[in-house]
Amino acid sequence: DSSVYLRYIFNTCFRTVEPLEYYRRFLKENCRPDGRELGEFRTTTVNIGSISTADGSALVKLGNTTVICGVKAEFAAPPTDAPDKGYVVPNVDLPPLCSSRFRSGPPGEEAQVASQFIADVIENSQIIQKEDLCISPGKLAWVLYCDLICLDYDGNILDACTFALLAALKNVQLPEVTINEETALAEVNLKKKSYLNIRTHPVATSFAVFDDTLLIVDPTGEEEHLATGTLTIVMDEEGKLCCLHKPGGSGLTGAKLQDCMSRAVTRHKEVKKLMDEVIKSMKPK
């Protein structure tokens, strides 16, 4: 009994003083301190439609990492170079609430990188055709402001953000809009709403590279800190690659990259199944 306690104390101290060695001992046995295998994701949960002031919302938890996405739809004039398109404007916020490493103020580097990543995913995967958001070419179009806020930062926010965005967009309902011929003003019928046409379902899978060779999936905050590189792959349902994000770090061989892609394909199936179950279980509005 006392030896169990002493061993617990030793492990905690060792973890704090030599975190990398501590991790290496687990990785040699092909597992991680939290009991997961190298290719295993943390428990993923999603809660859709909880924010009633938003037109669509979703809360995603990947283990401890928690991201909430709220979508607000507004009217705007279409861009002059694309009069038949609307806008999708993502924004990722990493407030001091989610981790002590972030300060209040304008978006830091990590938030800007995450926002740009989400913008790339939206653009490359064509999750929504921007033409679908046009109401009257050259005059009126929808803007979908997708605001993602991280509530708890424990690694792998890119996967959580992508999933939250997808779930929130599936939850969005837009009211019917007609342009009055005489007054040329928009008329909105808030009682008649319809869902967005979501064309593809991009799902992100992130990996951390350890010691330039070992790949582990869904890194926690501590694992990201100890990693020598990271990689994020975004796949859609036809096994097509939408986006690949590898910000520097250790190099990877082609074979390793292929392994990652296969893992990303299986992850896509897991996530799609979860989301379909959640949407089916929600009562129709």
Binding site: P95, Q116, V177, N189
Partner: protein, 272 residues
Amino acid sequence: MPGDHRRIRGPEESQPPQLYAADEEEAPAARDPTRLRPVYARAGLLSQAKGSAYLEAGGTKVLCAVSGPRQAEGGERGGGPAGSGGEAPAALRGRLLCDFRRAPFAGRRRRAPPGGGEERELALALQEALEPAVRLGRYPRAQLEVSALLLEDGGSALAAALTAAALALADAGVEMYDLVVGCGLSLAPGPAPTWLLDPTRLEEERAAAGLTVALMPVLNQVAGLLGSGEGGLIESWAEAVRLGLEGCQRLYPVLQQSLVRAARRRGAAAQP
């Protein structure tokens, strides 16, 4: 947002579709002016914060996290006579830094991220109400950071943020004299103006005046008071404050329960 190069750019301006909607929103239903909406409070839910709390009252959802104590920025300040009970002299006392944020999707109209003056005013109100409850003398030259995030505004947002912040501080193990409980009120306009306790968003929008009171329930002392609008007679304001304080007392047992549960959960998790 033309000048903001740190965020993804959208259109120059946009309008909410509600402006073009044909039907008017219904007036809020008549109700018992002393009714409090049922409250769901949970402490200790964020893994990265020292202390945290989530509070939901009707449609209002607020999340609060506390971090610290951390070394205060701003260098040495002078000494002075020591306070009672081994506390640091007044000039070396700890500081409470509060931050209030509204999620862009929290209200009827989207608010772009740089918050502006209202968020700063509410953050200051939070700080003023929480300071009397925290034993800052026990954290010399340190600062405690309290961040509140409003996820959905369903009325009485400041009151909910105050309560969540106090719960988060208690959950973080910060030494406090008492919890702080907040309660909102609004004055319904009309021929016979009445003060409504715990207003919903609709009631707040149509109100002639609004008030938020913060009470330390055990000590029975008012920690903060923020109000604005045209209320009429002075007696009606006094009556409103009394109503608010009563509301705070009624909320207290729920908050105690949530802290006890959080402590139990923490104890169970700590077993190796």
